[in-house]
Subunit: 229 residues, 2 copies
Amino acid sequence: MPEKSHKHVTCENCLSRQNSLFGSFCGEEVDLLERQKSCSYFKKNQPLFIEGSAPRGVYCINEGKVKIFARGEEGKEQIIHLAAAGEVVGFRAMFSGEPYKVSATTLEESNICFIGKSDFLDLVDSNPTLRNGIMKELSKELADRATFITNMAQKSVRERLAFSLLMLQDIYKEEMINLSREDMANFVGTATETLIRLLKDFKEEELIATHARRVEILDREGLLRVAGN
Amino acid sequence: MPEKSHKHVTCENCLSRQNSLFGSFCGEEVDLLERQKSCSYFKKNQPLFIEGSAPRGVYCINEGKVKIFARGEEGKEQIIHLAAAGEVVGFRAMFSGEPYKVSATTLEESNICFIGKSDFLDLVDSNPTLRNGIMKELSKELADRATFITNMAQKSVRERLAFSLLMLQDIYKEEMINLSREDMANFVGTATETLIRLLKDFKEEELIATHARRVEILDREGLLRVAGN
DNA sequence: CGAGCGATTGAAAAGACTCAACCACCGTGG
DNA sequence: CCACGGTGGTTGAGTCTTTTCAATCGCTCG
């Protein structure tokens, strides 16, 4: 019983587009985008692209969520970023001229549109607003990753988990956080067992509640305090 | 007895420029750059810009080295990047429209040129090659940071140190690595004491040698093996 | 020559990880 | 309808890494 099924949304009516890189598009531009994109339904845990492959285009998330991750030596995933509706994924490697250094996989059923590399690059070339949006996005992400690195290096797992839960809540919006313990651990950067133990601690401290695998935030302030942020 | 003193190098003759973002510039473009830049001498440990301030322009390193770092909760530095001659520093925040999220400070005496914000942005607007170079640079850096995050999250301090020493050697080229133990620890992401103990281990394993604070790499292969990369 | 900072060492404690086992839920096939 | 198998979640115990704190050393700068 998939809640989401294959739908063909036009770019014009796409709510996700409003907040995306293409938010500034209007009239003719939207039509062009509409003609160039193809829309697909992705099952849960389906890869969009994988580390080492050459970029073929960009993915615009209409509905659903995607994890972006790298693999360490032992093959353990490290989730670098979680992308939700409205985000455009996979465009970074288009500019570096190198193969993907990360992989992207859906976390739930998703509707995702695809725009081919040359079409996308043409858009970027001809549209200064889009270009500036991309440069801004790249720069912001760079700053985010500086913070990410600092947190990894200096915070305890407990602090990182509190911080991560707050980030996750922002991504899941009204919904409850719904991630496998392993994915959550790979986001926080810890072992699954450690993550579970800390979730239990947080439950006991009434910072969160769990409903099966889903996690409900009870005390934002408290978590913020634990995160030391 | 400063080995480096204030010199005014013209962009045209600047060897560092060749490898920099401005490497593609020729004739008239170089002249324009020359007119817009101002060149200054920086003492050791002198800040170029600090976290929280608004970007005023970009810094092109002619001679010397610069650390880019963020500060964690307790004010502890985390070095995100080390920049050497030829690198242009501080342009990321120019596009994000936000204040700097990181600080930059010289690690040694340096000669560094400055280009004001509006001049730089004009250059970017009018020069597609520069623009593409920047987008490429931003994307590559983003990929590097994904690896950085993964290393932080999954590698032991010992592994990270081995890896870091190899990176440092690339930055210091022919010279020996010359960093305070604290800076080195802040790059690796560990406590100074731990760093010192591990350096001692590496010495005993004849992977490195030390000459006062300077570190000499004796066995690249060995370090690579320790780094597990 | 003394002050002070950076480098180094020691000892103890804390935080996290690993490994192993167990549980709980879910869909399948009989 | 229920037993079965499998995956993901949870718990316990022990170990190892890393940090912390305190103290010492050594050198450079005034």
